[in-house]
Chain length 237, copies 2
DNA sequence: TTGACAAATATTGTTAACAATTGCTCCCTG
DNA sequence: CAGGGAGCAATTGTTAACAATATTTGTCAA
């Protein structure tokens, strides 16, 4: 179990971070972003308690926060499970991204002279490096975080938060419906988008983002794996 | 204290709703939307416990959820206070709305023949009725909820949630920075927007929404009341 | 009267024990 | 051998007591 491994690592490396429950949230968030925590994975309180070395209260608060962000699913008396978006939710997420990101990137391109894009440049370097070293989980996470940082570049904290949530859910969706190579698409597209922004080409930037998102969505097989319960029910019918 | 009154009513009218802590969240959310809970109002645990007749755990969970939605501010060891957005947050909220709502309404107008708009029609009736009866708090809340229902009409649950949060914060912002009559702007604009959607005029609908939002934002006086602490400090300086 | 300091009070944070629910194992029966 | 239930183990939900931190009140001295 890769997730187990990672979470255990988390415990060992982050002890000094102390008592903030946001540490727990961040760890689980990161594990989901890197697709090491698979949908439907159960997150039991006791397990998380010993993993992070905190009391049950902290864990429960963290779980409540994660559930409010749609990262996990909190079932009454049954526990917490990594969220498993269905077809409809997946469509909602992509529709939302197609609604928000193109205008967002357009804005960035329009006023790219007044914006500090160095974060994005550095990010693409990281992304390339990770790709070169073939670090799969890093590539997956960075590939998603590019979009988060795009939003951060706008300076709008609200948009940043929304994008972060959208990207996280996209990660879950790609993990569920992604067919083989779609997990981490080429970063040429990211590079091109940033170039268009830098060159102050709003139309082109907007277009590229739209295509990029449609590309990701197109690479999914919505009928691939429904959630396992439904599959089972269908098989037995 | 109007808020006290209302919350006490809540206790008496909603007892049967039972143990869900979402009831608490909904009540406080509604009170904020109707501007009966002013920013910086303290929400003490004990008070909420007896108001809603639930244990401390429920209250604390509700407060955590409200804080994750930006409705309240959770200060360590000091308690929960109704959020008090500053100038920057206000600008972020309006920028986000100007980014999201115009394309959203454009989409609605483009495919308004495939969408059930009856909810919006009914809503405008309610809004008019409340206005006619001069029910201030109702008008304020409905005026905001029109935008939430606009998002709901798109059928996208994610967008709906985001819009709901944006509208709530807008309510706080208008309460803080609104100069006199801006609290609830004329619903002619709402009517016109819905008409443009019904008539399948994407350009016009998008334009009207943009103007509507700018109208609201323009009615604010960003230097009006900073939060009281700063004001006090500034006066004495 | 004002300011600082200290005790008292009130409020929030945490822990641990307890209750309730779920899921599982095992045995029994058909 | 399949199906069904009783009991058991494991997990989550709740409560109440306790600890830690803020805030207020009261007192004293300048």
């Amino acid at each position: 179990m890769p997730l187990n491994t990672q979470i255990t690592e988390a415990k060992e490396t982050d002890i000094q971070s102390g008592t903030e429950e946001s540490v727990i949230v961040e760890r689980i968030y990161k594990a989901v972003m890197e697709q090491r925590l698979a949908p439907r994975t159960k997150l039991s309180e006791a397990r998380l308690c010993e993993t992070f070395g905190v009391g049950r209260m902290r864990v429960r608060r963290a779980l409540l926060l994660l559930s409010s962000q749609g990262i996990i699913d909190l079932q009454s008396n049954r526990g917490a499970y990594v969220a498993c978006p269905d077809k409809d939710e997946a469509n909602d997420v992509f529709a939302a991204r197609l609604l928000i990101e193109p205008p967002l990137v357009r804005q960035l391109a329009e006023r790219s002279d007044q914006i500090d894009l160095s974060v994005l440049v550095d990010h693409l370097d990281q992304e390339n490096a990770a790709r070169a070293k073939n670090e799969r989980t890093e590539v997956i996470r960075l590939s998603g975080e590019f979009h988060t940082k795009l939003a951060q570049a706008s300076g709008n904290k609200f948009i940043s938060r929304v994008m972060r949530e959208l990207v996280t859910r996209t990660s879950l969706i790609v993990g569920l419906f992604g067919s083989s190579n779609t997990a981490s698409c080429s970063d040429d597209e990211h590079t091109n988008i940033l170039d268009a922004i830098k060159a102050q080409q709003p139309d082109r930037a907007e277009e590229l983002v739209t295509l990029h998102l449609q590309h990701i969505q197109g690479g999914l097989d919505m009928n691939a794996r429904q959630d396992k319960q439904d599959d089972l029910a269908a098989i037995l019918a």
